[in-house]
């Protein structure tokens, strides 16, 4: 009946259906936080490590191709509700948080060199922690849901306005290293896609509908690929470890003809990174509070932020190298978590 009104999202006839729709909407908003977090990880991976091409060990990259997918499938079958499996995902989230905080603090340091590096890190971590405490899970999920359009617009502006003519020979720096090297670099980025596992863990309903889950899982891949392609058009190509974090992040917009576009690209990072970091901390808080319901909220909210903050403040020089080595392994870890979840489920079923 209500389908006649074109503006409706779904047909609703009674209170139960409306209730169901509300739960789905909340689950969808919650899953979006995982998507934003995953997309940010992929884009950061391309910006920081994919930029320098083929720096990863070959065997790691080859190994990591199938693992994230296997973990996701396991979590799918396990229902994603196992408490222990949820806790097993925490190291991946911790790596994500450290990576995001490192990138954000480096960027702020580049924008405002007047302040010490650690001050920015403390401010960012404190604001994210406060946001988590004040806004609860619904706030983070719904707020990210509102911001998604804004983020998308900034993402497009930050990249499209680089004003580089899209000549194919500018892809050469990537392809010139040889297809295997380029492919392996891309594969090492698959570690970032472990976040797709969160799609199956975060909502209260254990198994989301196949279509929606598949679509959401595919989205971050597309964003990562688009970002990599845009980097391919960069001219002149400027690889190297000597680039500072802010320079790397603003790599695309560096060639923007207009200063406003340059600023918009900066704004994209300033919105994307804190939002992703908050989403990441929220995921950790959910997993911990699911496993230990009695844990104080302030503690579970700081579970990821505090170690990440310590790592960023105490190891500012070593952290990029360590992250480079560790980040691809998130896929393997997520796969292990998925397998553990499946095993636990089977054991419970056997009892």
């Amino acid at each position: 009946m209500l389908k006649r009104a074109m503006q409706t999202r779904t047909a609703v006839h009674d209170e139960q259906a409306a209730q169901r729709q509300r739960k789905q909407a909340y689950g969808s908003a919650l899953r979006l936080t995982a998507v934003v977090q995953t997309a940010a990880q992929l884009v950061l991976w391309v910006t920081f490590y994919g930029y320098d091409r083929a720096a990863q060990a070959v065997w790691q990259s080859a190994l990591l191709l199938a693992l994230p997918a296997a973990g996701i499938v396991c979590l799918w079958y396990a229902g994603g509700t196992q408490k222990t499996a949820g806790l097993l995902l925490l190291p991946c989230l911790l790596l994500d948080a450290a990576f995001l905080l490192y990138a954000l603090c480096g960027f702020i340091d580049g924008l405002i060199p007047e302040y010490p590096y650690a001050a920015g890190a403390v401010c960012v971590a404190a604001v994210c922690w406060l946001t988590l405490l004040l806004s609860r899970r619904e706030g983070v999920a719904n707020g990210t849901n509102v911001l998604k359009y804004f983020l998308l617009i900034l993402f497009l502006l930050g990249a499209v306005f680089l004003r580089a003519s899209s000549r194919a020979d500018r892809l050469w720096p990537i392809l010139g290293q040889g297809l295997p090297n380029t492919a392996l670099t891309a594969l090492s980025g698959t570690g970032a896609v472990w976040g797709a596992a969160l799609l199956f863990v975060l909502p209260d309903q254990p198994k989301p509908s196949v279509k929606a889950a598949a679509l959401w899982t595919a989205l971050p891949w597309a964003i990562g690929a688009v970002w990599a392609l845009w980097y391919g058009f960069l001219h002149p190509w400027a690889p190297g470890d000597d680039l500072r974090v802010a320079e790397r992040l603003m790599g695309l917009a560096r060639h923007a003809a207009d200063v406003v576009n340059y600023e918009l690209a900066g704004l994209m990072w300033l919105v994307l990174l804190p939002v992703s970091l908050t989403c990441c901390a929220m995921s950790g808080e959910i997993l911990l509070s699911r496993a230990c319901p009695r844990a104080p909220r302030a503690l579970s909210a700081s579970l990821l932020l505090l170690p990440a903050l310590l790592a960023v403040c105490l190891l500012p020089r070593q952290l990029p190298q360590w992250l480079k080595l560790l980040l691809p392994w998130r896929g393997a870890w997520a796969a292990a978590a998925g397998a553990a979840a499946l095993m636990l489920k089977r054991r419970e079923a056997a009892r």
Binding site: R9, L111, G120, G143
Partner: protein, 498 residues
């Protein structure tokens, strides 16, 4: 107090005397009379009852009655035959009798009867219905709510002539009971909404609730939330639109405003004008309001942060002008911004409180002395003056006073964050505020719905669709009655095929 009346008038009068402190309180009038062969006592509050009404409809008919009645018969005769006033009811307990008396009713106690009779002959001094002062419109009705609850309910009934309009009378306050009306449309407003709101109002455990603002704070979901969780309006047409959309409306005796719950952030950006004008104009006005809101919240903070930390983002000519104008200013840009916002808030507050006669002098002081003279004296730069004025203008574009106030407080936060941490500070504070607002609820409903989380909704959220496409009520209405129109809304203009 005694739970029921005695059959003896003297004891009942002593009871009332104790309850009403008659030996000290000279405002309560006691008229003793002989009617129906019995002694009677009539109580009323001086000034709350029309003397001629009481004489014509209560006292005279009683005195004319020659027949004798006793006990239950006497009460029956009074309520059914003798009293000529339209509203008469029996009151079984002294507590209720005192409550009725305080609400302006006459209370009659007859000897040998164990019940009193309350008669509504209220007539008191009140303000007449006038135009709205805080929600003015160019097109549309100009009536606004007034203080007496009954008049406000009359306005609602007149604008919404349907038996489905339910007005539940409740009282709030344990010692001083103030009348509250909970209004909703049967079948359109969900039962859960009514149940929750009623329970929140009646469960308020406080001696007295003097204003609707206090009631608002007692029934809202989160007392620490930065934005209002009810829509407050003084326009009956707006209250009617809330009712038609499935929300419940609370009216408070003595307050010329109503509260509507549940609500969302988007309601605070809607103005009555939007619906009276064509959909294109309404949409345009809402976009302008949103731009005003963004300017109000972010402009001072972004300006200060860019000039202090990211001057390279500005065009060179503009940057040169700003630096030139700031070269004679002795205080830092952040302090200057805080000072200007504080002065603007001061002007705003003073403008609200100032008596009308002094308005012109006030305008002179604020524009000449605080504006031009401050620039000439090198206290503030003209650029910042423009920025603060623009942001103030943006806050005035918001139709809801509470929202505009919240935005003005928020702009201080953003300014401080921008002045101390640059654009990262603005972004982080913006994120904190957005997520905090996104986590808010109004009567259990998410604050940013139906945009986030997504819900079924009418295309009248930010942009308005043509009226014929607005087929749904809001998602706050009962899902079973969510459709406003069945079939085609416009049944003309399409030729029949031969």
């Amino acid at each position: 107090m005694q739970p029921v009346f005695f059959r003896d008038l003297k004891r009942n009068m002593r009871l009332m005397q104790d309850a009403l402190h008659l030996d000290e309180n000279s405002d309560i009038v006691l008229r003793e009379l002989d009617a129906m062969g019995q002694r009677c006592a009539l109580y009323y509050v001086d000034g709350m009852v029309g003397s001629s009404l009481a004489a014509d409809f209560v006292i005279r008919p009683l005195l004319r009655c020659t027949q004798e009645y006793q006990g239950e018969q006497a009460v029956e005769a009074v309520t059914r035959r003798l009293i000529e006033a339209p509203e008469v009811r029996r009151i079984p307990s002294p507590t209720e009798a005192v409550g009725a008396l305080m609400n302006g009713l006459c209370v009659l106690i007859v000897d040998t009867a164990d019940e009193a009779v309350a008669v509504d002959v209220r007539f008191f001094v009140k303000r007449s219905i006038g135009p709205s002062k805080t929600e003015t419109v160019v097109i549309g009705p100009h009536e606004a709510f007034t203080e007496p609850l009954r008049d406000n309910l009359t306005l609602l009934h007149r604008m919404l002539p349907t038996p489905d309009l339910i007005c539940k009378r409740l009282t709030v306050g344990t010692k001083v009971k103030t009348n509250v009306a909970l209004c909703y449309l049967k079948d359109i407003c969900p039962e859960e909404t009514v149940r929750q709101l009623e329970s929140r109002i009646t469960s308020a455990q406080v001696d007295d609730v003097m204003t609707i603002g206090i009631l608002d704070q007692l029934i809202e979901d989160d007392p620490y939330a930065p934005l209002p969780q009810t829509v407050s309006s003084e326009r009956p047409d707006r209250a009617v639109s809330f009712l038609l959309e499935g929300q419940a409306v609370v009216l408070f005796d003595g307050s010329p405003r109503c509260l509507a719950m549940p609500m969302t952030l988007w309601h605070l950006f809607h103005a009555p004008d939007d619906s009276y004008m064509r959909w294109q104009y309404g949409s345009c006005m809402r976009i302008i309001r949103l731009i005003g809101a963004a300017l109000s919240l972010f402009l001072p903070g972004v300006f200060v942060s860019i000039v202090i930390f990211h001057p390279i983002s500005l065009p060179m000519s503009l940057l040169t002008n700003i630096i030139q104008s700031r070269s004679v200013i002795s205080i830092s840009l952040l302090n200057e911004g805080v000072l200007m916002l504080a002065v603007f808030a001061l002007i705003n507050e003073a403008g609200t409180r100032i008596p009308g006669l002094l308005g012109s002098s006030f305008g002179l002081v604020s524009t000449l002395i605080l504006g031009t003279a401050a620039v000439d004296a090198g206290l503030v730069s003209p650029f910042l003056l423009i920025v603060v004025a623009l942001s103030g203008l943006g806050s005035y574009a918001l139709p809801d006073y509470s929202l505009s106030f919240a935005f003005r407080v928020g702009q201080f936060l953003i300014l401080l964050a921008g002045g101390l941490l640059g654009l990262p500070g603005v972004c982080l504070t913006g994120m904190l505020l957005l997520f905090r607002v996104a986590g808010m609820q109004s009567l259990g409903q998410p604050y940013l719905a139906p945009r986030s989380p997504r819900r079924m909704h009418n295309p009248d959220l930010v942009l308005r669709a043509p009226v014929y496409r607005q087929r749904l009520r809001t998602w706050l209405a009962d899902p079973a009655d969510a459709l406003r129109a069945r079939g085609r809304m416009r049944r003309f203009g399409r030729r029949k095929k031969r």
